[in-house]
């Protein structure tokens, strides 16, 4: 009985760790930069594929790939924001118009990234095996690589939290999250901060994808969308603009997903959607939101 309970809790946490990470990234983009980045999942996919390529072609283990992927994807996100979203922000007549336009731009980005991946890697699914030996935790058995991803998620999440609270840039981000105009008046270079946020968002997506690829799942260039949806649902669950909420919400949804998958594999997406609908109807500000 206890074993079953622990199995569920730990299993849920393992799934949730990655969800938490990608949700925080998405939350940064939507909560601060006000970009509904529906291409978020595509960067998760890219992160996974880059890790696969580095591992199978160059023998670089995923944990070292992190040091390559993190700055690389951060830069990509930063540049994308500067090229597409900064001019869009200036040309949009109102924040509402910008929200719509930036979402549509992300829609275009989705197809650019997804098809780029299809051209580079082709459509057949891929995967690799790393740290795939089993580990026993209080009677329940889990794969070592999944435990590593949980530890990594927690470390990354905490590191980012420390960054937000303790550094000047982090404080600028939090100020921009509350009120971009006021922050600008206080001397915050708002365009740079928003681009940074977007860059961090893409970086976390890629790292999430990296961790995902470690869990021996099948990688496909079309796998991105479901993770975008998970990120959306988690961010709504945790409360828009609430970074801590997104992190915790990821674990909650991961738990739900693990429970549903154990009894009815293939219905976890439906379960997430039911939660989403329930949230939107009853408490759109999220379980943990204001």
């Amino acid at each position: 009985m206890v074993v079953q309970f622990l199995d569920i809790v730990i299993g849920g946490l393992l799934t949730g760790g990655i969800y938490a990470l990608i949700a925080v990234g998405f939350g940064l983009q939507y909560g601060v930069a006000r970009v509904l980045n529906i291409a978020h999942g595509e960067f998760i996919m890219l992160g996974a594929f880059c890790t696969w390529t580095l591992f199978t072609m160059a023998g670089v283990t995923p944990l070292y790939s992190m040091f390559i992927c993190a700055p690389f994807f951060f830069a990509i996100g930063f540049v994308i924001y500067r090229i597409f979203y900064t001019p869009l922000r200036t040309s949009s007549e109102s924040p509402a118009v910008f929200e719509g336009n930036s979402m549509l731009a992300s829609f275009g980005l989705l197809f650019v990234v997804q098809n780029l991946a299809l051209i580079i890697w082709g459509s057949p699914v891929k995967g690799y095996s790393y740290l795939a030996f089993p580990i026993q935790l209080s009677g329940a058995v889990f794969s070592a690589n999944r435990i590593v991803t949980l530890i990594a998620s927690v470390i990354l999440g905490s590191a980012f939290y420390v960054f937000l609270v303790c550094t000047r840039t982090g404080k600028a981000i939090r100020a921009a999250a509350q009120d971009p105009d006021a922050a600008e008046l206080m001397g915050v270079r708002i365009n740079r901060v928003l681009a940074l946020c977007f860059g961090f968002g893409v970086m976390m997506a890629a790292l999430g994808g990296l961790l995902l690829s470690m869990t021996s799942i099948m990688l496909s260039p079309v796998m991105g969308m479901q993770y975008t949806l998970i990120a959306i649902i988690v961010v709504v669950l945790g409360g828009l603009g609430n970074i801590k909420g997104s992190f915790i919400g990821g674990f909650i949804l991961g738990l739900v997903g693990y429970i549903v998958s154990s009894s009815q594999p293939g219905l976890s997406m439906v379960a997430y959607y039911v939660i989403f609908l329930f949230l939107l109807l009853v408490k759109p500000t999220g379980l943990l939101g204001k």
């Binding site: 529906i38 719509g100 549509l104 829609f107 275009g108 997804q114 098809n115 293939g266 997406m269």
Partner: protein, 317 residues
């Protein structure tokens, strides 16, 4: 005292005549042309349907692929038992019901939540159908009784005329005004007597009807369908791209945008689909950044310039 509804009799009559001309010699046209025009019409209908609701209200729906897929599946299930003229409206009706449900629940929320929900609807329905087929019916995918290309062509022509007529009627009616007022200020519209939620939900469902009917029609061309092929996000992306590129103010705008891109797809499709889809993704980015009112915006600016020039008596060389 002419309002912005404008005078639509000439373009409409012309289009109808044009189509009658096109339809009659269908037997004389090559198979390839028939298939090409059918494809173009498919995209035109999807784009027009999308523009009926999302154009004036500003609620960006990313669900066309879901409604199209529902039509495809309805047709797949029923085509062996029922004749085509019944299956197509049923496909439309199934999408209407789904849209009515989704709309009732989510159109009360902020536009972005609605968009998020519609974005996932495609995945959701696909996932659910896949699970259903694996666990309940036991077989994944279905075989379809196909119809020949000419039949499908005529069915698409009828659907096109139907959605064109519907678009025209809605625009000219008080609901056209209501939709535009909702797009500007829902609060003011409600205080002027508009039942905002009812109008949104009904028109959203009507637009979905035509998307479902299109799906039901086009499925007759495929011998085998499964959830993945029937529910592809591409069918949400293309209508949105075509409408944004073409514009949504006048009726000709989304039709033009759809025609241009479906022809482009036809021309570029000799290479792998990934290249032109990448190009279309880039096009969306370019259009959003540089063409805020689409092709129509550019055309209308020119028309105004020419009119102003003529009025002030300047000579144009």
């Amino acid at each position: 005292m002419k309002s912005a509804r404008g005078n639509w009799s000439s373009p409409i009559i012309m289009t109808v005549l044009l189509l009658l001309l096109v339809a009659l010699p269908a037997y004389a046209l090559s198979d390839y042309t028939v298939i090409l025009i059918t494809n173009i019409l498919m995209y035109v209908v999807l784009t027009l349907s999308w523009a009926i609701f999302s154009g004036p209200t500003g609620y960006i729906s990313l669900a066309p692929a879901a409604f199209f897929g529902v039509g495809v599946y309805a047709s797949a299930i029923l085509s062996s038992d029922l004749p085509l003229p019944i299956v197509i409206p049923i496909g439309g009706a199934a999408s209407f019901i789904l849209a009515y449900l989704v709309g009732s629940l989510t159109l009360r929320l902020r536009g972005m939540y609605f968009t998020m929900f519609t974005f996932g609807l495609v995945e959701l329905v696909r996932n659910f159908l896949h699970w259903w087929e694996v666990n309940i019916t036991g077989t994944v995918g279905r075989l379809i009784i196909t119809a020949d290309n000419t039949t499908v062509f005529y069915a698409m022509v009828v659907t096109f005329l139907a959605v064109l007529f519907a678009s025209y009627l809605i625009r000219r009616s008080k609901f056209g005004l209501a939709l535009r007022s909702i797009g500007e200020s829902e609060e003011a519209a409600a205080h002027s007597g508009v039942n905002v939620n009812r109008v949104k939900v009904v028109i959203f469902a009507v637009s979905a009807f035509f998307m479902g009917a299109t799906g039901a029609t086009m499925s007759m061309r495929w011998t085998y369908i499964d959830p993945t092929s029937a529910f592809s996000i591409q069918f949400s992306f293309m209508p949105v791209l075509m409408a944004i590129f073409g514009g949504m103010g006048h009726l000709y705008a989304p039709i033009t945008g759809a025609a241009i891109f479906s022809l482009l797809e036809e021309i570029l499709t000799t290479k792998s689909p990934h290249y032109y889809m990448l190009l279309f993704g880039l096009t969306m980015l370019v259009v959003i950044l540089f063409m805020p009112y689409g092709l129509e915006g550019i055309i209308e600016k020119w028309r105004k310039k020419i009119k102003a020039g003529l009025r002030s008596g300047h000579e144009y060389t």
